[in-house]
């Protein structure tokens, strides 16, 4: 091919490509997302409720969950099997994905022509809020009444699963699901090492800081911390902020109520505290390059005094440390009930186009009734509503976790996860915590960055 013809062909190809792109764009003239959902709920969610799936005829229920770790997977399998045994006319098709896989694929599945009947939806604006806004989930208030969820769950747990029907305001309006498990972030401690240092179990932030200082001066690594995965930073910062800012302020900030700012003194104090911990070496060195799992393994291997993490790590550290590990949550002051980040497992919700909403709700009730909670607990999980007869052996970390969960969830001590604040807050906060602890950001600049994300979300709402 000569230079000239090649240039001409090229010009022709470019013209054709441009034409094709133009035509195709024109052809797909309707805007993305138009025509999906949004008309489904009102009529359907008003009818009478049938609480007996046996009368529903032959039904296949597709349920998407995120129960991939051993404990939750075992309880899901046991409960599904029991449900199908009780109602032989119902077949449950289970699709199980890890949390992050679920987060990325659920949107597509829900907006497809053939969505699942039951899904586990993550609380907060980016997930549940977006689904409600798009009319993809149906309110379950009528089922809550029929099955008594309104009375069996504490209202602070139910509120996390509420949204106004336009998906714009969280924690109020319709109920869109209930949760089976509970979780809080707290402090794991090595009992033998704490005793060797002559320290009591810390219950307030000053006591915790005293213990950190003492461990450091005696040559013991105070906290095992690895933030390469970015998520542990939120938990560590949240534990400090709960103590320095108090529950009213944290709730206002995360739920976008009132005029609280991320630059207010309470949050600034938390940033200053966390920075000083990093500077004093309480967090070890190289924590931004160390993974969460490495940190947990280091703590379980007895290399440090504390680990700040969620109740979901109890099953990981217990086999290695046996009864040498305890779990505690900090209180604002001695004698007050503990206050910490936490919540409940993803909400079990019913999709608005499900052909069998009554069966779906009956299945959800089967998961969260007393027997469901018991099966969940028997498989090593922390049930949202611990059955009265559930008593882990004393001295185990499971017993500590249950005690703390009871006092936090029943005495209004539950604070929302900070990344609920805005759809982009997870990215903003995790990056900012890494920068703060590495000395790249001053505490003041840190709070400015959080506030700027916060205010741009408020302006866009």
């Amino acid at each position: 091919m000569t230079e000239r013809t090649s240039r001409r062909t090229r010009r022709r190809v470019i013209a054709a490509a441009a034409l094709a792109t133009g035509v195709l764009t024109g052809m797909a003239a309707c805007a993305p997302g138009q025509g999906s959902g949004s008309s489904a709920d009102s009529t359907k969610s008003a009818g009478p409720v049938s609480t007996d799936p046996a009368k529903a005829g032959k039904v296949t229920l597709t349920a998407w969950d995120q129960n991939t770790d051993p404990g939750t997977n075992a309880s899901s399998e046991a409960l599904n099997e029991a449900f199908m045994k009780k109602y032989p006319n119902v077949t449950i098709k289970r699709v199980s994905r890890s949390f992050s896989d679920l987060k990325t694929t659920l949107k597509l599945a829900l907006s497809s022509a053939n969505p699942p009947d039951v899904v586990q939806a993550n609380q907060g604006y980016p997930d549940m809020g977006a689904f409600v806004k798009a009319g993809l989930l149906q309110p379950v208030d009528r089922y809550a009444k029929a099955y008594g969820w309104n009375t069996s769950f504490p209202s602070q747990l139910l509120d996390l699963n509420r949204f106004t029907s336009d998906g714009r305001t969280w924690k109020t309006g319709n109920l869109y699901g209930v949760s089976q498990t509970g979780e809080i972030v707290g402090i794991y401690y090595n009992k033998a090492k704490l005793k060797a240092l002559g320290l009591a179990v810390p219950t307030t932030l000053p006591e915790f800081e005293t213990a950190l200082a003492k461990a450091k001066s005696s040559g013991l690594q105070p906290i095992s911390y690895g933030d390469a995965d970015k998520s542990p930073g939120i938990h560590l910062f949240g534990v400090v902020q709960a103590a320095t800012a108090g529950k009213e302020e944290v709730r206002k900030l995360v739920f976008n109520e009132g005029d609280a700012k991320w630059t207010d003194p309470g949050t600034l104090k938390a940033a200053t505290t966390l920075r000083s911990w990093a500077d004093k070496g309480y967090l070890g060195s190289g924590f931004n390059g160390q993974s969460k799992d490495q940190a947990v393994a280091a703590f379980a291997g007895g290399k440090s005094l504390f680990l700040v993490d969620g109740t979901w790590q109890a099953a990981v550290v217990a086999p290695k440390m046996k009864t040498n590990v305890g779990f505690t949550a900090l209180s604002p002051a001695t004698g007050q009930p503990p206050l910490t980040q936490g919540g409940q497992g993803l909400a079990w919700a019913v999709t608005s186009t499900s052909k069998h909403p009554d069966v779906a709700a009956a299945y959800i009730n089967f998961l969260v009734d007393n027997n469901g909670m018991k099966v969940s607990a028997d498989n090593g999980n922390l049930p949202a509503l611990p059955p009265a007869d559930y008593k882990p052996a004393s001295g185990t970390v499971a017993a500590d976790v249950l005690t703390q969960w009871k006092s936090v969830s029943q005495k209004d001590g539950l604070l929302p996860y900070l990344d609920y604040t805005t759809p982009t807050f997870y990215d903003t906060l995790t990056a900012a915590v890494q920068e703060l602890t590495a000395g790249q950001l001053t505490p003041k600049a840190f709070t400015d960055q959080l506030q700027s994300d916060y205010s741009s979300f408020q302006n866009s709402r």
Partner: protein, 315 residues
């Protein structure tokens, strides 16, 4: 193709025919020829052009991925220019070009020249296969392995400690100053094999007479390299540049596994940001706009690189 062009005008036409004739020929487009391209064209349209059109279209809307979208015009694009974090992401991608393209090509040229000077090496194919291996291994595996090497208690730091360089040790992927170069060096390790294989094959095509002539003229190794090997490899260098530059600009899995864009945003990249916005934070319109810009940048750079390629008619 002989079947489609049986006409005498076409058969008689030689490379570099006069302009007059080619102008006359322009009127007669051989439509039948396009029939042969139709299957390929259909696949191309369905799997590439339609999605590309949709991508451009979505980039003009604010869309969370599920509910109704609102018209955004070009604001998604202007936001890219205004967002310092995104601009930094594009800058990081250009830094990666240094590690993915420039360094591997330079090193591979050097290695290729040395291996050809060394004459017949024993077990050269084993050596070649080994250096090409990183290209074959899945990126996720590569990234996981390198994460372990770079870890605070990893192999690299352990090696530094044994030679008494304790002061240099650091969490390579967690340190703001070293995270991006550390990710880049993984890229160098990945790409060098590809470049080397390309160059060794290219050198094989250079007539040996040229090297003999150079030797007779008394040229040394350096002179020989610049006078014969380098010009002879122009085509291969252009191919290597194209492949590695594209790999650098669309790096995703490496960062996704090794750093999640951290520490802070020190290793954030456009391709990672596309994924994050589309699937994580529900900003599908913005994600599409970044993807469009990234595609345009890659096309532009690829076009510039083709300018390096020697003309096929050899005049």
């Amino acid at each position: 193709m002989a079947v489609t062009a049986p006409r005498p005008t076409a058969r008689n036409r030689l490379a570099g025919a006069p302009t007059g004739r080619s102008a006359r020929r322009r009127g007669r487009v051989q439509w039948k020829g396009y029939l042969y391209a139709l299957p390929a064209l259909t696949v191309l349209t369905v799997f590439l052009l339609v999605p590309l059109g949709q991508l451009v279209q979505i980039s003009l809307y604010h869309w969370d991925g599920v509910s109704a979208s609102t018209w955004a015009g070009l604001t998604n694009y202007t936001d890219i220019a205004r967002d310092p974090q995104l601009r930094a992401g594009f800058l990081h991608a250009f830094v990666l070009i240094l590690f993915f393209s420039v360094i591997p090509i330079a090193l591979a040229l050097l290695l290729a020249a040395v291996t050809t000077r060394a004459g017949r090496l024993r077990g050269v194919s084993v050596f070649r296969a080994m250096i090409f291996l990183p290209q074959v291994v899945a990126m996720v595996v590569t990234a996981t392995a390198w994460t372990a090497i770079y870890a605070p208690d990893g192999v690299l730091n352990a090696a530094l400690r044994t030679v008494g360089m304790e002061a240099v040790t650091r969490p390579w992927l967690g340190d703001f100053s070293t995270a991006l170069p550390a990710v880049g060096l993984i890229g160098t390790w990945l790409q060098i094999g590809l470049c080397l294989v390309l160059f060794i094959a290219g050198i094989g095509q250079i007539p040996t007479e040229l090297y003999e002539a150079a030797k007779i003229d008394g040229a040394g190794a350096v002179r020989e390299f610049f006078a014969i090997t380098l010009p002879g490899l122009r085509g291969q260098i252009a191919v290597a540049l194209t492949l590695t530059v594209i790999a650098a600009l669309r790096t995703f899995d490496l960062v996704y596994v090794a750093t999640h864009g951290g520490p802070g945003n020190a290793t954030s990249l456009p391709a990672f940001e596309v994924y994050n916005r589309a699937f994580g934070t529900g900003q599908v319109g913005s994600a599409s706009a970044i993807a469009v810009v990234l595609t345009a940048v890659i096309l532009l750079l690829t076009f510039l690189i083709t300018k390096l390629q020697p003309k096929e008619d050899g005049t």
